[in-house]
């Protein structure tokens, strides 16, 4: 068998409805692949190239499932001695039979000597049909690997499958198309190296490309996060009114407007993160009890996310006047006071810091008459950290969300596992230094420091954020699994 294509090509084959399309969707991060609980969804073979900077580094071929395994094997056994390329010979002799349309589609890519990824559902027992399929694949002589994709969380058959596959496959891996994370995908690619030496170098560079692509995504996310902080802490709405009796209703309206503006800033940030991770079509289900379901200014959000009391006091010290001075004296006094006051009063202050979630409303008399009402910016030092926590939670969710799973799943077991509850955010686990790096950036933005100063603090902050984001995405345990 010759390897004709310089681009590593892997044909994903298997029984109907075992999750072939799901594996392809997850590996290529393509949520447009058609996936359905009804067998026979895929009827034509299709190539799904993975392109990085317009260059195809690896490609996967999704195929329909075997429809006539026995017939193919019997033909292979009879003609086996006469030809070296069995798949090709079979198509040449039987290809015109319309009944065999799916099998011909399936075998066609194999004639070019590409690698085979055989997908099986590890949650069901092995049957003679499966053994027939394995034998067919073995007879084609293509380099091949088996992927055990447990559709249900019943691991009892995996060992049975492993021993059955050992005879016919160069490599076996468990790969859950619905749960696979970035690192699991990379690990799968790594193990593909082993089944075909010719592609080792090509695969290595593909993996490299994947990794640098991932790094660049994370870099972009850190930028998005900094932008979010900037918009968040400078957001303000104001309005002049001349009829003083309208003051109360105007205040209320402004408050609403301010909240809506913040809401859309945050939403935009989440959208761009989602786009980066190529989730274009479907909404991702956030686990039902995730704190992300709560609005920005709800009690729970502020209890769960952000920094702890101690941390906030010291961070507020770093931010110092930054947030406060610029706005009004009352707050400035408090902000300055934080690190001078005694412990007891500090406690009271932090209570206030937690309690006063909302931006303050200020009223100024105007020279031209009437008053100017301003809502925001939010000067609470906790606020940017809450924004960061929410964005990072979203990032964690999206970056580990397998593309095969974009559609609502039928199985309830997998949703049960998604029910991960988030006890706390990420920022409270940061080191003091990390918190301070972030606080410096907040301070420079809030105080409207000179451009160079802001740029420098932003660079620092992004570097720190990237580290944290990497940690989140590399961790082999996404929230869902950690919950188990």
């Amino acid at each position: 068998m010759t390897t004709s294509s310089p681009i590593p090509t892997y044909t994903v084959v298997g029984h109907p409805n075992e999750g072939k399309s799901s594996v392809v969707a997850t590996l290529t991060e393509d949520d447009t692949v058609r996936i359905s609980p009804i067998p026979g969804e895929t009827t034509l073979s299709r190539e799904y190239p993975v392109q990085i900077d317009g260059r195809t580094v690896i490609q996967f071929v999704d195929t329909p499932g075997f429809q006539y395994p026995r017939r193919i094997l019997e033909w292979f056994r009879e003609e086996g001695s006469n030809t070296s390329n069995l798949a090709e010979a079979f198509i040449a002799s039987q290809g015109t039979d319309p009944d065999l349309s799916h099998d011909v589609q399936l075998l066609t890519p194999l004639t070019h000597g590409c690698g085979i990824i055989y997908v099986i559902d590890g949650s069901r027992p092995i049957s003679s049909t499966d053994r027939i399929e394995m034998e067919i694949l073995r007879l084609t002589g293509n380099p091949r690997m088996a992927i055990i994709n447990p559709k249900e969380f019943q691991e009892n058959y995996i060992s049975q499958w492993k021993s059955a596959c050992a005879k016919a496959f160069n490599s076996i891996r468990i790969f859950d198309a619905h749960q696979a994370t970035y690192s699991e995908r990379i690990a799968l690619l790594e193990s593909l190296k082993g089944i075909n030496q010719d592609w080792e170098a090509a695969l290595a560079s593909a993996i490299e490309a994947f990794e640098s692509d991932w790094a660049s995504r994370i870099h972009q996310v850190s930028g998005i996060l900094c932008e979010l902080i900037r918009s968040g802490i400078t957001q303000a709405e104001s309005k002049s009114i001349f009829n003083l009796s309208e003051e109360e209703s105007a205040k209320e309206k402004l408050q609403k407007k301010y909240e809506n503006a913040l809401h859309s800033v945050e939403k935009e940030c989440h959208q761009s993160i989602r786009k980066l991770f190529k989730h274009n079509i479907f909404n991702i289900d956030i686990p039902p009890q995730s704190v992300l379901h709560d609005e920005l200014f709800t009690e729970r959000t502020w209890q769960v996310l952000g920094l702890s009391k101690k941390q906030i006091v010291s961070t507020a010290a770093v931010i110092g006047g930054g947030l406060g001075v610029k706005i009004d004296l009352a707050l400035a006094g408090l902000s300055f006071g934080v690190f001078t006051l005694s412990g007891a009063i500090a406690g009271a202050t932090t209570a206030w810091l937690r309690g006063e979630k909302l931006a303050r409303t200020t009223i100024k008399k105007q020279k031209i008459g009437g008053i100017k009402i301003t809502v925001g910016p939010n000067t609470n030092p906790q606020f940017p950290f809450i924004l960061i926590d929410r964005a990072m939670l979203y990032f964690q969710h999206v970056s580990n969300w397998a593309h095969a799973r974009s559609k609502p799943t039928s199985s309830t077991t997998s949703t049960a596992l998604q029910l991960a509850s988030v006890e706390s955010g990420f920022t409270s686990h940061w080191s003091k230094q990390q918190r301070d790096t972030c606080a410096q950036y907040i301070k420079s933005v809030a105080a409207d420091a000179p451009y160079e100063k802001q740029a420098e603090t932003e660079r620092e902050c992004r570097k720190m954020l990237e580290e944290m984001l990497f940690e989140i995405s590399k961790s082999n345990e996404p929230t869902s699994k950690a919950a188990n």
Partner: protein, 543 residues
């Protein structure tokens, strides 16, 4: 559930009602919805059967109580009061359509008969009605059709073509097949697996019913056609009599050949032979024939009036004898044919068997049936009825032996005994043979070799395939099922029982809804009346 006491069943009357087409349609509909919703082994069927027996006892018609056809008829009347059927009686709808069609046909026949005869009998004093034209226009077409019918009958009678086939049915089949092919080629590849499956199942169930109904519907169509003929002839005769009575008409004959009156007389005598024994006078005499010959250049001034009108009794009689009478006979024949066919239906299809089994099975169950959740338990009153019930009824004449086919893995895991018992409970078949499907090392021929020697055994008429539901119905399996069905006798039956995936402790999971549906639809697409999919709960032995 309706309060049973208030149901006034029509079969309370002593005379057992006969099956009509509308009953048959309703019955099939009710049966299908019962088996689709998995209610075929519902206790309500047993209840209906017990009531049926009780009523029979009361009416003193004991001997009949075991007849399937009657019991099913009773069951149908009960079903007609229940929601799915009570809301829309498809049979009634169909029959109302037929009745409307019949009325339209009568009107058309009367109208066309009258108008055609009146046109032919037009006479303005110069041009008498041409006798040959009259006869050939009114009778000629009919006689040609009659000859075709006769030929068709003979061909069928001697088995050259089948009763069910004709011009129409194969035509419909051809078109349908064409449609299916086209859909497969053009639409299927693009549509989702789900809609594709649904489409195939739909087409399958549309074409499936035909085997059962084709003859009956053809019979009914034939009745309609014959009644057209009857009323057409009636109108023609009536119009002739009426016009002759109230107006002046003339008849004559003409020919460019040198035909003599004798020859014409000879022909008319021949035509009149059927009634010449009774009414020999109803045929024109030689003189009358001579006197009604028309030469256009001479006009009709010279011909005697009495000769010119002498033809009408002959013409009217010809219409009656050659037009009306055969149509009437054929009408009677079609009628008889339809009734006969309806009475001959043996209700031995697979679904009928399953219904019969659930009617005859004594209810010993205390909790859930094999199909899952227990239905709402019967009220105490009916429990009394259960105890009064006479034991198992007939149908024990010949043991219903069956053959079980299993995957090798499944055979390894579960015990034969338990499966046999489960099958007997569900459908009443007695398993007498087991065949294991070939595993990966054997060729598929091994299976057919095993089948060959038992093909003529009774057990081969009832095949049970035990199938793990999580294995999707791939084309190879479906093609194999088709082939197996083709080797069975025409009225052989096959059940596919789905089992769930094995769990610990030998239990199997419940078959998931999607898998059940996928299998049902794939099998529906085979349009096979004696092939069905159902669920089976078995307990594995090992592991």
């Amino acid at each position: 559930m309706l309060p049973q006491a208030t149901i006034k069943s029509p079969s309370n009357s002593n005379a057992p009602r006969e099956w009509q087409l509308e009953d048959l349609i309703d019955f099939d509909f009710a049966l299908e919805s019962a088996s689709k919703s998995g209610k075929i082994s519902d206790h309500q069927h047993r209840e209906a059967f017990l009531q049926f027996q009780k009523e029979n006892d009361r009416n003193g018609t004991k001997s009949n109580s075991t007849e399937r056809s009657k019991a099913f008829r009773y069951w149908l009347d009960k079903q007609r009061q229940r929601p799915p059927l009570a809301d829309a009686l498809p049979g009634q709808l169909f029959c109302r359509g037929i009745r409307t069609l019949r009325t339209l046909i009568y009107l058309a026949a009367l109208l066309s008969g009258t108008l055609m005869t009146a046109a032919l009998l037009r006479y303005d004093g110069t041009q008498p009605t041409n006798v040959a034209g009259f006869l050939s226009l009114l009778l000629g077409g009919q006689l040609v059709l009659l000859a075709a019918t006769g030929a068709g009958f003979l061909l069928r009678r001697f088995g050259i073509i089948r009763w069910e086939s004709g011009i129409i049915a194969p035509g419909i089949h051809f078109c349908l097949n064409r449609c299916v092919k086209w859909i497969q080629q053009n639409v299927q590849e693009k549509s989702s697996a789900e809609s594709r499956l649904r489409m195939q199942a739909f087409l399958g169930s549309v074409t499936r019913k035909h085997s059962h109904y084709q003859a009956i519907i053809l019979g009914i169509l034939s009745t309609l056609l014959q009644s057209f003929g009857i009323w057409f002839n009636v109108a023609a005769v009536a119009t002739t009599l009426f016009l002759v009575t109230v107006s002046d008409r003339a008849f004559g004959w003409q020919s460019s050949l040198n035909l003599s009156s004798q020859e014409i007389h000879h022909v008319t005598q021949r035509i009149a032979s059927p009634w010449s024994f009774i009414l020999p006078s109803i045929a024109p005499t030689i003189t009358e024939i001579e006197g009604s010959r028309i030469f256009l250049k001479d006009g009709i001034k010279t011909l005697a009036n009495q000769n010119l009108v002498s033809w009408w009794p002959f013409l009217a009689c010809s219409l009656l004898v050659y037009g009306f009478a055969p149509r009437f006979l054929l009408w009677l024949g079609s009628h008889w044919f339809v009734r006969n066919r309806l009475n001959q239906i043996r209700f031995d299809s697979l679904t009928c068997d399953r219904l019969w089994e659930s009617m005859n099975k004594q209810e010993l169950r205390t909790s859930g049936s094999a199909l899952g959740k227990p239905e709402n338990p019967p009220p105490p009153l009916e429990m009394v009825a259960l105890q009064e019930a006479p034991p198992m009824s007939e149908e024990k004449k010949e043991e219903p032996y069956a053959l079980v086919i299993v995957e090798p893995e499944l055979a390894k895991r579960s015990s034969q005994n338990k499966i046999d018992t489960a099958i007997h409970e569900l459908i009443g078949w007695t398993v007498s043979r087991w065949i294991k499907l070939p595993d990966e090392t054997q060729s598929s021929a091994v299976f057919w070799e095993q089948v060959e020697p038992i093909r003529n055994e009774a057990s081969f008429e009832r095949i049970v395939l035990i199938q793990e539901a999580f294995q999707p119905p791939i084309r190879e399996t479906i093609a194999w099922i088709k082939e197996l069905r083709a080797t069975q006798a025409p009225n052989g039956k096959m059940m596919i029982y789905l089992v769930g995936r094995p769990k610990e402790a030998g239990r199997r999971q419940e078959v998931c809804e999607t898998n059940h549906q996928v299998w049902t639809q794939s099998v529906d697409a085979l349009h096979d009346n004696n092939l069905a999919v159902s669920l089976l709960e078995i307990i594995d032995d090992n592991e």
